[in-house]
């Protein structure tokens, strides 16, 4: 099987789940998924293993492009709303991930997932709005109708708890 397909098969389901979470629209998620893999593959030389794992790099590309798409969609909808129109929603690094690393990462994932679930709802929501919707602190404060300082504190506390949970694996 060609190398690109191996790379794609390894991560496509993970990246697609992330893009669906961000965009909540299958057509958009599929377009951005394609863009993400093409971008990652054609700029593989930019990947720096010292700065993080390949999956972290791929996810950062996907998230960034997903958030960009989400923002442009919001701008488009806002413009359409403002115009009073009906909005119509159109609907070398391949062999480095050993089984042991996968298992460890899976345990870490589980730890972060359960830590996230255990966070007070206000902290969890603030983290999710930032990560999955790309909202700034000010936008989150406005959305939740809370003071900016409160939001900042919630995010810092939430992140600290996630980190504490991860440190058990080091």
């Amino acid at each position: 099987m060609p190398a690109f397909e191996v790379f794609y098969d390894r991560y496509a389901s993970t990246v697609y789940a992330l893009l669906l979470r961000i965009l909540a629209n299958a057509d958009d998620a599929q377009e951005v998924l394609q863009e993400t893999f093409v971008k990652a593959w054609t700029s593989a030389k930019m990947f720096d293993a010292v700065r993080g794992s390949e999956v972290a790099w791929l996810i950062s590309i996907a998230r960034s492009r997903g958030i960009d798409r989400l923002r442009s969609r919001k701008i488009r909808y806002t413009r359409e709303d403002e115009a009073g129109r009906e909005v119509s929603i159109r609907s070398s690094f391949l062999d480095t991930w050993s089984g042991a690393e996968k298992a460890i990462q899976s345990e870490e994932c589980q730890a972060v997932r359960s830590a996230l679930a255990e966070l007070p709802a206000a902290q969890r929501v603030a983290l999710e709005l930032a990560y999955f919707e790309g909202l700034s602190q000010s936008e989150i404060a406005a959305r939740l109708e809370e003071p900016l300082g409160t939001i900042k504190t919630r995010m810092q506390l939430g992140m600290r708890k996630l980190r504490e949970r991860l440190q058990a694996f080091q």
């Binding site: 496509a12 993970t14 790309g134």
Partner: protein, 71 residues
């Protein structure tokens, strides 16, 4: 800037919400502070795991060939 300040900025940076003005201070501090650099790596890893921790969803099978044709 204290270590605590730096860690707080690193946490927000991992989420992509740190103030632009704080990022330069963060970069300067972690250039010479190993614990804070480690904290930034931990926070980045934590947010990556937020994504990896989602239940995987298989995309339509035709998408792989479509992506490969763009290379």
């Amino acid at each position: 800037m204290t270590h605590e300040d730096t860690e707080s900025i690193a946490a927000l940076d991992a989420l992509g919400v740190a103030a632009a003005g704080d990022l330069a201070d963060l970069a300067e501090h972690i250039a010479s502070c190993i614990p804070c650099r480690r904290a930034r790596e931990d926070y980045r890893r934590a947010v990556t795991l937020l994504a990896i921790g989602l239940e995987p969803i298989a995309p339509p099978t035709a998408l792989r060939a479509r992506a490969a044709s763009c290379l």
